[in-house]
């Protein structure tokens, strides 16, 4: 540090034991002019927000509870990916444990049920897909045109009549009565073609 800088510093702090030179005095006046530059301070609301943020940070005065909260992802600090994944697993485990304790099911059962729901939803929402095994097809319907083409009348589908009472114990429906009841039906020429 040169002597001029030391002299200037002494003059700035008012500790010099000798009168400052002309240049030093001019620079001290220039420094005093710089003190007139005023910058805006914070508003009352801003001070309140910053104070609240600090108090939240300081927590109970020791900050001992914050590391876990920060680690779990509820704090303001950004965390690396591995830590975020680990925290996510920890939170999921805690949530599963709480849910199983409340519902009386194990997390495995809940996971299996959730998987079943997803599979069912995927099957039901599949547009135009193949029907599931054992599921009735909507396109295959019995048609009465076979009898009509042969000049006869098609027999209606026998449906059980819950009100019918008889020897058959109510197994005989209206369709049977309409087609002649228990009478044996006379074979018709169209029947041969149907059998083909």
């Amino acid at each position: 540090m040169d002597e001029f800088a030391q002299q200037l510093h002494e003059a700035l702090v008012g500790a010099g034991d000798r009168p400052p030179g002309t240049e030093v005095a001019a620079l001290v006046r220039l420094a005093r002019q710089c003190e007139r530059i005023v910058l805006p301070g914070p508003t009352t609301e801003q001070v309140a927000r910053m104070r609240r943020r600090l108090l939240e940070r300081t927590g109970d005065g020791r900050g001992r509870t914050w590391p876990l909260v920060d680690w779990l992802g509820f704090g303001p600090q950004p965390r690396p990916l591995a830590q975020r994944l680990a925290a996510g697993l920890a939170v999921a485990a805690i949530a599963f444990s709480g849910a199983s304790a409340a519902a009386g099911t194990t997390p495995w059962d809940a996971a299996v049920r959730a998987g079943e729901i997803l599979v069912d939803a995927a099957r039901n929402l599949r547009p135009g897909g193949d029907p599931a095994p054992g599921e009735p097809t909507a396109t295959v319907t019995p048609t009465p045109t076979a009898g009509a083409t042969a000049g006869g009348t098609a027999e209606p589908t026998p449906t059980p009549d819950p009100t019918a009472e008889g020897d058959d114990g109510g197994q005989r429906g209206r369709g049977s009565e309409a087609s002649g009841g228990d009478r044996e039906r006379t074979p018709e020429p169209g029947d041969d073609r149907r059998s083909d």
Binding site: A15, L27, L30, A31, E35, R36, I37, R51, L54, T58
Partner: protein
């Protein structure tokens, strides 16, 4: 005897520098900060937050950003409270160093840092009532970064040479040399005919 004379000179230099008296006794306030005493930290906030805010908003311009940076400054200081060194200085220098670092990295674009002084902030604060001050601020803003920074810290924000040295992470002698160089450049800039502001005359030599 030479050692005693050297110690006395060092002591005299510290006094002349307006710095600490190198007290060996532990400072209770500093210990409370290191212990993360909540009352001490609240008191520190009430005392230093406005000055830190003025420093930051003078560089970033946005009140929201300044508020966020000041809050982060205290959070960083709280997090590293154990690292606070009692050098016989008020913790203002330590906080200014943290705020300086956070401000420099705020919205940084490659090698561009926020300016040392934003003229629009000074104009808004002055309200156009003091053109000399605005012209002086313009001249400071045109200085090299290191010169403008030491002038801002020493004479606008009122840090001592020792506090500025801590905030700038340099020595006291370096601050003294830098402030002498910066004031000379500022004077030359104000005296230059092409750039001399109309409302401000440089002080006579």
């Amino acid at each position: 005897m030479p050692a005693i004379a050297g110690g006395a000179l060092l002591r005299l230099a510290e006094i002349l520098g307006g710095g600490p008296s190198a007290a060996a006794a532990p400072n209770p306030a500093a210990e409370a900060l290191r212990r993360r005493d909540r009352a001490a930290w609240t008191q520190l906030f009430e005392r230093e937050a406005p000055a830190l805010y003025r420093y930051v908003i003078g560089r970033v311009g946005s009140p929201e950003d300044a508020e966020d940076i000041v809050s982060r400054t205290f959070e960083e200081a709280w997090k590293h409270a154990e690292s606070f060194e009692d050098r016989g200085l008020p913790p203002r220098a330590w906080l200014f160093g943290i705020a300086r670092h956070l401000t420099a990295s705020h919205r940084r674009r490659l090698f561009r840092q926020p300016p040392m002084l934003r003229i629009d902030v000074v104009e808004a604060a002055a309200g156009g009532s003091d053109p000399e001050v605005i012209d002086l601020a313009r001249a400071i803003a045109r200085l090299p970064r290191a010169d403008a920074e030491v002038i801002m810290l020493r004479f606008v924000h009122g840090l001592s040479a020792h506090e500025a040295a801590v905030a700038l992470n340099t020595t006291v002698d370096a601050v003294k040399s830098r402030q002498a160089r910066a004031l000379r450049r500022l004077r030359d800039m104000l005296e230059a005919p092409a750039s001399a502001p109309a409302g401000l005359r440089a002080p006579e030599r």
